[in-house]
């Protein structure tokens, strides 16, 4: 039987390792890895194929860079009621809980603010008036939605950026664990990691050191569970010596001052870990206190 992996190397690659197979591809504008502790090529290939299909599906559906996709439809409804499917409803329900638990700090309607802060070193500080105008369009509490419909004020734009990648990691992990319950696998999308199936000798995962990018500061051993990293190591800019990270406080309209450079949190699943990391970043100086109260393992780089 022809091995199918050769047919699909174009979009992603699958290489043999002594512990199993390493699958690599790109999605959500970040390098993605699937570590599969199993020796059969066709199973590894099928798992990788499932992971890529699911990751691309979520990206195409919720990326704010793709015209005409599901998110685009919602953001261009200018006030009209829109039909939503079950998956979108689940995400909105989760985002609402995060909004309430973080007293409004985590707000997925902060789309317009995101677009203002073009995060690359050459960007200038946006004028205060434009920030106020953008802030006026933000406010998750003004969105009405139920399991079938959503109605947003005109001009409001949702941005699932804060949760989509972690959600994709968990979805892929969930589906792989469901189809192959006894094959340990590690899903890693640009630092957001999930290991649904326990592995006897744990995976060794390197945590990036913000000062020296692309090489691991310290190594975490994970047998099961998830880990998410939130940080401005790549997306930040400095004006008059003040460093602005990519975490914007929706209430002030400005990036959070004194936010740590990066926060890594371990949790039961990637979405929870990611949310805690983002909320810690939003606490700015209070990041350490906040995470200590959550009694989760974490590491913060300042």
């Amino acid at each position: 039987m022809m091995s199918t992996s050769s047919l699909k190397t174009a979009l992603y690659s699958l290489q043999r390792r002594d512990w199993g197979y390493l699958g690599e591809f790109r999605a959500m504008a970040s390098p993605c890895e699937i570590l599969i502790a199993c020796d059969q090529l066709d199973i590894a290939d099928d798992m990788l194929d499932m992971a890529v299909t699911e990751a691309l599906r979520i990206e195409h559906k919720y990326s704010r860079f793709i015209a005409q996709n599901c998110l685009w439809q919602l953001n261009h409804a200018n006030g009209h009621k829109q039909l939503i499917d079950e998956e979108t409803w689940q995400l909105l329900a989760f985002a609402k809980q995060c909004f309430q638990l973080s007293d409004g700090l985590f707000d997925i309607s902060a789309g317009p603010l995101m677009e203002l802060w073009r995060f690359d070193p050459k960007a200038q500080l946006p004028e205060h008036a434009r920030i106020l105008a953008a802030k006026a369009l933000v406010g998750f509490e003004r969105i009405e939605f139920d399991s079938r419909h959503i109605e947003m004020p005109t001009g409001m734009k949702l941005d699932f950026g804060g949760v989509a990648k972690e959600y994709a990691v968990d979805r892929v992990a969930y589906e792989l664990a469901e189809c192959y319950p006894d094959i340990p696998v590690l899903v890693n999308f640009g630092g957001d990691i999930a290991c649904p199936v326990p592995k006897v000798n744990p995976w060794q995962v390197g945590i990036e050191d913000p000062q020296h990018l692309d090489h691991a500061a310290n190594v975490l051993a994970i047998s099961q569970g998830a880990l998410a990293t939130s940080g401005d190591t790549r997306r930040f800019f400095e004006v008059d010596g003040k460093r602005y990270g990519h975490i914007v406080d929706p209430r002030t309209g400005y990036p959070v001052v004194q936010a740590p450079r990066s926060v890594t949190v371990l949790g039961p699943n990637c979405v929870t870990a990611g949310m805690l990391a983002t909320m810690a970043m939003l606490q700015g100086q209070g990041a350490e206190d906040f995470l200590q109260q959550q009694d989760v393992k974490f590491s913060i780089f300042r």
Binding site: K8, A10, A29, L56, H60, Q68
Partner: protein, 155 residues
Amino acid sequence: MKKIWLLLSLMAAGVQAAPSLDHQVFNAQNQAVSLSEFKGKVVYVDFWASWCGPCRKSFPWMNEIQTKYQDQGLAVVAINLDTDNELAQEFLKQVPANFSVRFNPEGDVARSFDLLGMPSSFMFNRQGQLVQHHVGFYADKAAEYEQELVNLLKE
């Protein structure tokens, strides 16, 4: 006998026989626009139709290379050949595209490109010259197509 046919079909195709960027198509707002707007970029012209299976498979890949090489001057232009625009819109709803989509319901541009199958793709360098064309879409050949584009982008 075969040669005569060839001659006849060439003449029938009219002056613009060879594939080029000097052709009139319609944009999403149904305004007539010319393909020459992409001159100066490396252009990947793709002819597709809503009923064609392999075309549906090529969209995600075209999305990927458009996002990847956009700022290096790549323009992916997918020309729809459905006579019924409704079918094309239905397709685009299901299969999102983050590259330029144009429409040629009469198929006159497709005729002058003399397509051999669906989908058909044509690669133009920055000077607007046709350098490569392919018929159909195969996942295992996508890397080859991408490499050809990268070489053109480097010129």
